[in-house]
Symmetry: C2
Subunit: 213 residues, 2 copies
């Protein structure tokens, strides 16, 4: 925790991993765990894990470890996974459609309620009960519905302009798949999934690990 | 650079971003840039950028800045984007199909040459010239073709087993979209795109930024 009482982003990035491993332990019927067990599962050190959890009150008892169900539940509450979220996807191309079809957000309650696109061949179609609407109708829709998160899957050339429009309609959280860093007001949080950058880093390591090729 | 002469992963993660911004400058017809300009574009400090590039020899002249074309080319060579790569995708569901259809790996020369799935309804179909083959034929295919990168888009329950099979066939680079941390030999590099963890972090910040809701 920094001097403003803000939890560092590195801690926040580790929480979903703890949540996932605790979910796996739960499924296996394991009730108790320790920072040492979690260390072996996650690859983070036991002291790192204790320190991370201490930011939120600890949840464990010395010499006793953690109750798996309870810790899983507490982390889900910290992340906010105990609530429901409505998502819209802007750009109903390959990535947008894949996210709309994705069922991997297990346990957590995310609902894609609509997609938007400018392609008339896509407008009117549905993906899992979510209609693809005309991008020109986006503002009216966003003003009428209470949407939590906008997922941007447009081409790079229009993503900033789309993000500006989304934010002007009151959206505060953006999940951005377009390969660009969005310039946004300070009260808007952007989480990027930059597939190119991920693949390019992998390519560097592939070449580095395999110098003989 | 650490004491073994290894470039830190934080530097490697920033290179694709430099590459992208330099590509944008190039498109705009801009020939010269400086660490100060790049700092404004990328959000990293000018000294950070100079330090990062110094790991590879610098490329700039004091008081003169960087030649955009040259720096773009040099970074592409460092990442290995001047070579061709053959990819296979394992799991031809939503995410696998989206990656196969994705055209966003602009400039770089990646080719998805085949997909694999166990679903008989998918086997035999093609996505952009890449045939979806039966997962049971994967080893024969991987032994015959020289594949650089395996993209794992299977369900979580089978991803470790699939990764083990892929590695047993000689693959050294894995781009993993399954929500699990793969346990792999040391000479295999795994790059994870964990969509759940990304969305869960976003959710934390959404709740944190919007305490009043």
């Amino acid at each position: 925790m920094d001097k403003n009482g803000k939890i560092s982003s590195a801690v926040i990035r580790r929480l979903p991993k703890y949540y996932r491993y605790l979910g796996e332990l739960k499924k296996m019927g394991i009730n108790k765990t320790s920072s040492k067990d979690l260390s072996q599962l996650t690859g983070f050190s036991a002291s790192q894990i204790r320190q991370d959890l201490n930011n939120f009150g600890g949840f464990g008892q010395q010499g006793f470890g953690y109750d798996v169900d309870n810790l899983h539940l507490e982390i889900s509450k910290i992340l906010g996974l105990d609530k429901k979220y409505k998502l819209v996807i802007i750009g109903a191309g390959n990535i947008g459609q894949a996210i709309a079809n994705y069922t991997g957000f297990y346990e957590a309650d995310y609902e894609v309620v609509s997609l938007f696109d400018k392609n008339p061949k896509l407008v009117g179609l549905s993906i899992r009960n979510a209609i693809i609407r005309d991008i020109d109708d986006m503002e009216i829709y966003l003003n009428e519905e209470k949407i939590d998160i906008a997922v941007i899957c447009t081409p790079q050339s229009v993503c900033q302009q789309i993000a500006d429009r989304v934010v002007a309609s009151g959206i505060k959280a953006i999940w951005n798949f377009a390969p660009k860093d969005l310039k946004m007001p300070e009260d808007v949080y952007v989480e990027n999934v930059h597939l190119n950058e991920s693949l390019f880093s992998l390519t560097y390591y592939y070449n580095h690990f395999n110098n003989e090729k």
